[in-house]
């Protein structure tokens, strides 16, 4: 049985198809479909987005991953978080962050901290170098 059984599903929220796209990549890599639920802010004002986030929290979501720190998705999550202090919001989410979270074994909050550190470490710039020979 998976060690993740029992952990509340996390929410991934973003612009347009961001959440569905990035979570489909997680599923392709991990084979897991039960880790994340997704939400888009497409066509929604901030209040409607916030209402959807609050619904997700009411369903048991305790960790929210959003795409852009300046995005309305993050604003909605932060507003909902204000009345729900047990909720953790992670912004600037990337595939390495979600993959690490997917395989983590700690609580949602601890797993989010570790996943963010791994996500930062996964960012790098590579350049080709001239061959010496």
């Amino acid at each position: 049985m998976s060690e993740l059984t029992g952990r509340a599903t996390a929410l991934v929220i973003g612009h347009q198809d961001f959440a569905a796209g990035i979570v489909s990549a997680v599923t392709a890599i991990t084979g897991r479909t039960d880790l994340f639920r997704t939400m888009s802010n497409y066509g929604l004002d901030t209040r409607a987005t916030e209402a959807m986030v609050r619904d997700a929290i009411a369903d048991g979501v305790t960790v929210i991953f959003s795409d852009l720190p300046a995005g309305s998705t993050t604003m909605a999550a932060r507003r909902a978080q204000q009345d729900n202090p047990g909720v953790t919001v992670v912004t600037g989410v990337s595939l390495p962050v979600l993959l690490d979270y997917a395989f983590a074994t700690g609580t949602g909050e601890d797993a989010a901290d570790v996943a963010v550190a791994k996500g930062r470490a996964a960012m790098m710039v590579t350049r080709s170098s001239a061959r010496a020979d």
């Binding site: 612009h15 066509g43 929604l44 004002d45 901030t46 209040r47 409607a48 852009l68 720190p69 300046a70 995005g71 309305s72 993050t74 604003m75 932060r78 507003r79 204000q82």
Partner: protein
């Protein structure tokens, strides 16, 4: 003109504003006109969180915006003025003869609104308010991001761009 854009956007400060417009226009300040946000430190902190450190944000009420508009317009750096609804922008236009061009950037779905564009939904009262603004000489057009087509108000209201 230092205030490059006067924008109605119910998401206020978000990705399209900070990144979509902010980078190509090299915006260095935002004037967020909203009575509720101007009275809430917490809301201001929330909006500041998403703004780059080299971009200033002035949170002002409608009355403060009218009072300080000349100073904002005289700023040597490019900026954007934002309101979260049509009524707030209409009040500014009525009080500020210099404000003659308005961008409809995002008025999203809500009960009672009819879709006019992918990102514009309006009640009949909001339509009437926009027509009234236009009748006073304010040039109104819709454009969510710089790369998108500019759509004049009449075409927006006719729903032409939805076809």
């Amino acid at each position: 003109m230092p205030i490059e854009l006067h924008r109605i956007d119910d998401r206020l400060i978000h990705g399209q504003v900070v990144v979509g417009w902010g980078q190509p226009l090299e915006l260095r300040f935002l004037v967020l006109v909203d009575d509720e946000v101007a009275a809430s430190e917490w809301e201001q902190e929330l909006y500041r969180m998403g703004v780059p450190s080299d971009m200033r944000v002035d949170f002002v009420s409608v009355a403060q915006a009218v009072e300080r508009y000349a100073a904002f317009a005289a700023d040597s750096k490019p900026g954007m003025l934002l309101t979260g609804d049509i009524d707030t922008m209409a009040r500014l236009c009525a009080a500020l003869p210099a404000l003659r061009r308005v961008n409809l950037g995002g008025v999203h779905h809500r009960a009672g609104r009819t879709q006019k564009l992918r990102y514009i939904f309006l009640t009949s009262a909001e339509e009437a308010e926009l027509r009234a603004m236009a009748a006073t000489g304010v040039e109104i057009s819709a454009q969510d991001v710089p790369a998108a087509r500019v759509i004049p108000l009449e075409a927006v209201l006719a729903g032409e761009a939805l076809a």
